[in-house]
Symmetry: C2
Subunit: 160 residues, 2 copies
Amino acid sequence: MAPGTAVRPTEGKRAGKRAAASISLGVLDDRLGYFVRRLQVWIFQDFIRRLSRLDLSPAQFSVIVVIGANPGLSQAQLAATLGIERARLVRLLHRLEQRGLTERLRSSVDGRRHALELTRGGEKVLAEATRLAEQHENGLKEKLGAKRHAMLLEMLRALA
Amino acid sequence: MAPGTAVRPTEGKRAGKRAAASISLGVLDDRLGYFVRRLQVWIFQDFIRRLSRLDLSPAQFSVIVVIGANPGLSQAQLAATLGIERARLVRLLHRLEQRGLTERLRSSVDGRRHALELTRGGEKVLAEATRLAEQHENGLKEKLGAKRHAMLLEMLRALA
DNA sequence: TATTGTTATACTCTATAACTATA
DNA sequence: TATAGTTATAGAGTATAACAATA
């Protein structure tokens, strides 16, 4: 399931001297971080593949989702919500603005802030991306089993 | 728990025009990938902090763990086991070799392969790193609760 | 003084492609 | 021809620091 896992090293067709049955993970086998990382990489790769038509990364998707759900919020608020650096958000917004999906309006209350909005085009892309992301999520449910998927989501949401 | 989550945006001390109670995650709130990513980032940050004395990244740790558990394995085997690119492994091993933790020996069976080994110093660092990683894992258990930690580990291991 | 958005820097990670030497 | 290790490149992500405008 995790990337590369299915592809076991060939081990030499003639069974090398060592004849290692299979590579051991050592103590990694008891490390939650290792498996969380593997699952995260797998999920992101699947997500990127599913949304390739829209050319939207998971990070870009999360940005337009949160702007769509909270129109007018500031960059600092958005960055804090997603847990990314303000500096990184600047470049993400540059790209999204170049593509005509988002816009930064002057805040009427605070001259330092930008009020973030989706354009009409941004809303359309968000709608389509949400549809594709739902297919991705359904694929996950099939792969993990609906019960495990729900348990995982509930457990992880409680931690955030 | 996830990075930045604890730090809610200030929202303006005088409660801005919008008076947004709290920022909504929109559909992200039902996305497993979003929460898996947040947890993974949090775990890695904690891991890096705990092992800062040894200056070992999660990736470097995983490399010396697997070499230690499978001495003599090849780079292709190691890369496939960890799900990373062979090209990236080359640079990881350069760094570890510079620090005197690992070595690449000629394989006696196949002139193309390197047999990877830990040096004496590498074994010492691995032992100490494993000790610190165990503290990191115990911290996780406290934070998630031992029961949830065990369930998560079991579920994720089954997927890998 | 503190905050918002911005620029700049450096390092890591990811994804490729191409090269060499061995098989 | 195929594989193992290597080099090179480009694009993201991460972590900082510093700056101008505004509060």
